[in-house]
Symmetry: C2
Subunit: 196 residues, 2 copies
Amino acid sequence: MSLVLAPTAQDLLFREARTANTFTDEPVTEEQVQAIYDLVKFGPTAFNQTPLRVTLVRSAEARERLVAHMSEGNQAKTATAPLVAILSADNEFHEELPQLLPHFPQAKDAFFAERPVRENSAQVNAALQAGYFIIGVRAAGLAAGPMTGFDFAGVQKEFLDEDHSPLMVVNIGRPGDDAWFPRSPRLGYEQVITTV
Amino acid sequence: MSLVLAPTAQDLLFREARTANTFTDEPVTEEQVQAIYDLVKFGPTAFNQTPLRVTLVRSAEARERLVAHMSEGNQAKTATAPLVAILSADNEFHEELPQLLPHFPQAKDAFFAERPVRENSAQVNAALQAGYFIIGVRAAGLAAGPMTGFDFAGVQKEFLDEDHSPLMVVNIGRPGDDAWFPRSPRLGYEQVITTV
């Protein structure tokens, strides 16, 4: 076996984990979200910039506002998931670099003085952290349903501000009845990996 | 405990895993890379587009060319890591959508006819997959050292083409002597997560 991670953990995080389309009523607690964050916060990012921000949509009123911005095919599951999270990138993450990179606080001005550079870096590194976050949700025994089918400008205006760009919306909970579509194919090793 | 994943697996993937700066001589085999890919290929992406591509730099000649494009502080570790991988985003991923999304092959033209849309989607989804890839490297008991300190245009010209945008370079291997810097701080829960 080439992997050290136990096969049951491989199943939990990748092989049996799936993007759920239906959920049970079981709530996702604050303690679970805290445990997920306390695990995935350690995933590496460039300059330790950790630009991912998470908005938990818990009130009925906020849920209704969010559903209105989802594409039609995503509305029913977003309305019924036990918890919905808006993942966004903080384009002003550099303000936290003195805290995050105490051995090199000059990085804030040396590398991230320009907003377009920050926006690009925030998008890439927040997406990297979204990968860790989805794995973390699965580590809590929950299904994550990431979606990009929504009105990005509408969600930004409704829930965020000009310094936070939406990245994806994630439905979180225990899978319900008929939760899965058939697994779609994946690319073969030789289509993805080349050697030079 | 709010997490289902075993504490030893949590340590392996997040808490004890670190970005290594030195490595032992032990090679990273083709079998290990295959096992990593066969695990992380299942991570979700939008429209199952899976735009991440990986270039394994195995020959001495290619390694030398890559090191020349790394920033000074990254050259020594890139020269000595058992395996170096260039992660890139395939901006023409839509050509594979008929294979990847057999129930909705129209997505290729309906959503991804325009190159700027593809480039943005490829960058975000390849970064998401880079998160899965780093977790997969750790699942193999190896350290991953992701780096963005290199000449992006130079690496693209030298190793890729105009349809593949470099995302990061990752050093892979078993940690050597003095492999770790002290762990940098992370943001508190309340700095990252808000509830509405």
